[in-house]
Amino acid sequence: MTEVKEKKKNKSRLKRRRSGFILLFLAPTMAAFCIFYLYPIITVFVTSFCRWDYTNITSPEFFGFSDMWNNYDYIFHTYPYFWEALRNSSIWALLGVILQIPIAAVIALALSRKVRGIRIIRNIYIIPNMISTAAMGIIFLQLYNPSYGIVNQVIRIFNKDFTDNILLLKGPAFIAMTAAYIFFTGTTTLMILGNIMAVPEEVREAAMLDGASGLRQDWYVTIPMIKGTLRTVSVLAATSGFLLYNEVYFLTKGAAGTYSISYVIRELAITSPRTQFGRANSVAVIQILAGMVIIVAVNLLYSVSLKKKEGRGGEAL
């Protein structure tokens, strides 16, 4: 009798200890999550329905149910840069998927072949990704400088009288800003390359027997095999394109039609002399929702094409 009791006691003590351990080890990360993600997200959603600006910094004030969309109304109809920012950020997200990922994949395929010096080329290609985007922004600011940069020198070969700063021309400024980051796909390329290298040799050999070699083999065999990774990096590229901030800040500060959503949020919430916290947070809500739409859209795109080709993809992250 006593033995059974003793065992039960022991068991429950062990159980308590186990729960204590789980709690102890989870607590710090959960606290970090609450501080940096949960609390801010709730604040963003709630205060996007509040009158909250530089005049009432400490006391946001709910608009009331009849006027609760006030901030959104202002953002959609009065604020001059919102639609421009949304369009730009969406284009950057799209370019991430349709331009950046194909470039990254093509270079990863090239890097997967045996060429003399391939390691050196691979290592060099990753270097720009080790440098902060802030530093790359300043380097490109100099490259685009009309008096001593190299971009204007190249343009002058075709048009002798060209003396404008391309970062101040509507249209070219957007292209110049995109070019300042989109070609640096080092880390993405490396992630794809890792997956290409993990494709089993037998699969390639089978393809060789079927007569597929070189580019055909890449297209019909390798690409379908790495679709899982391509989907993951596409989501990452689209998201980071959508959130672009540093390039905008360092290159144009939003001039010549180059606002981004992140830039709008920061301007409304922090930099403007008449800060509008409630309105900034309503833009933030749109950014969060649009970000989700983008992730779903990219996933849909890949699952449709996966079904069509019936290729086996790798593990998504």
């Binding site: 999550f33 940096f36 090239a110 072949r113 300043i138 290298m197 360092f250 920061r266 900034a280």
Partner: protein, 285 residues
């Protein structure tokens, strides 16, 4: 993994078209990554980059800009700041996350699904959307313009990547080891500290290196919560560059070269490590 090198086919066995295409891609990769950096270094050696723009070689090598970057800009101070902030926050976040990842990887408990979803969602929550609440929080904690503010932000952000890297590593550790430790009388905490942590060190190091690089290069929050020039990290210092050098282009270019040097050097030394980490171990550095 060990026969990685046999998998890459020699370019000679490829048809002409494929071979040319491969060379074009590789040439493009080199041009894209080298042009900005070579131009930057070249310009930093010119006394007056305005007089000899573009890729013209300097008349004579002029190093004054480099000397003044160390002497007048006190660049070492900013390296120190970045080192301190990035280092401390990586330490905090990696220890914290390797603890939680262990619990999630190895134990069953109520609410595990929710914990998983929470951690996974951090990958998709845009940090810039949280700008004002975080900024406000830092102010309310009276941490504005302190290094502690940035350490707090860096420790709490970027949970997802570290979590997945470390958890994947745990998943590959056989469970027998823990059972053996348990039989030897180790408690849960002891088992983790003495057995699991040492074995998982390579995975944890990978997460730490990636997080360190991220924090070292981070600009958005650094420029938001730090004002005092003495406390700035290297990326935050950059935003003062566009005005502070005025027309001293040689000084600007030299300072830029020195500022991009540490991550590039770090990469050259640890490239093997970076490459294996980012490619999931399939590519040898």
């Amino acid at each position: 993994m060990k026969h990685t090198n046999n998998k890459t086919k020699s370019v000679k066995s490829l048809s002409g078209g494929t071979r040319i295409f491969t060379y074009i891609c590789l040439a493009w990769a080199l041009i894209v990554s080298l042009v900005p950096i070579v131009w930057l270094v070249l310009s930093s050696l010119k006394k007056d980059p305005l007089a000899r723009p573009g890729f013209q070689l300097p008349e004579s090598i002029y190093l004054q800009g480099y000397i003044s970057t160390f002497r007048d800009l006190h660049v070492m101070r900013y390296f120190g700041n970045s080192m301190f902030i990035a280092g401390v926050s990586v330490l905090i976040s990696v220890v914290m996350i390797s603890m939680s990842a262990y619990v999630v990887a190895r134990m069953e408990f109520k609410g595990k699904k929710i914990v998983n979803i929470m951690l996974y969602s951090t990958m998709f929550i845009p940090a810039t959307a949280l700008t004002y609440p975080v900024y406000n929080l830092i102010n309310n904690l009276h941490l504005y313009d302190t290094r502690a503010a940035l350490i707090l932000i860096y420790s709490c952000s970027g949970i997802a990547v570290s979590f997945f890297v470390i958890k994947n590593y745990y998943d590959n550790i056989p469970r027998d080891l823990e059972e053996a430790a348990r039989i030897d009388g180790c408690g849960y905490v002891q088992t983790w500290v003495k057995v699991i942590f040492p074995i998982a060190r390579p995975g944890i190091m990978t997460a730490a290196v990636l997080a360190f690089l991220n924090n070292w290069n981070e600009y958005y929050w650094a420029s938001l919560v730090l004002i005092n020039r003495d406390k700035l990290t290297v990326p935050a210092l950059l935003s003062t560059f566009t005005t502070s050098f005025n027309t001293n282009y040689n000084g600007l270019f030299s300072a830029m070269v020195i500022i991009i040097l540490p991550p590039v050097l770090l990469y050259c030394i640890f490239s093997k490590f970076f490459i294996e980490a980012l490619s999931g171990g399939a590519v040898k550095g």
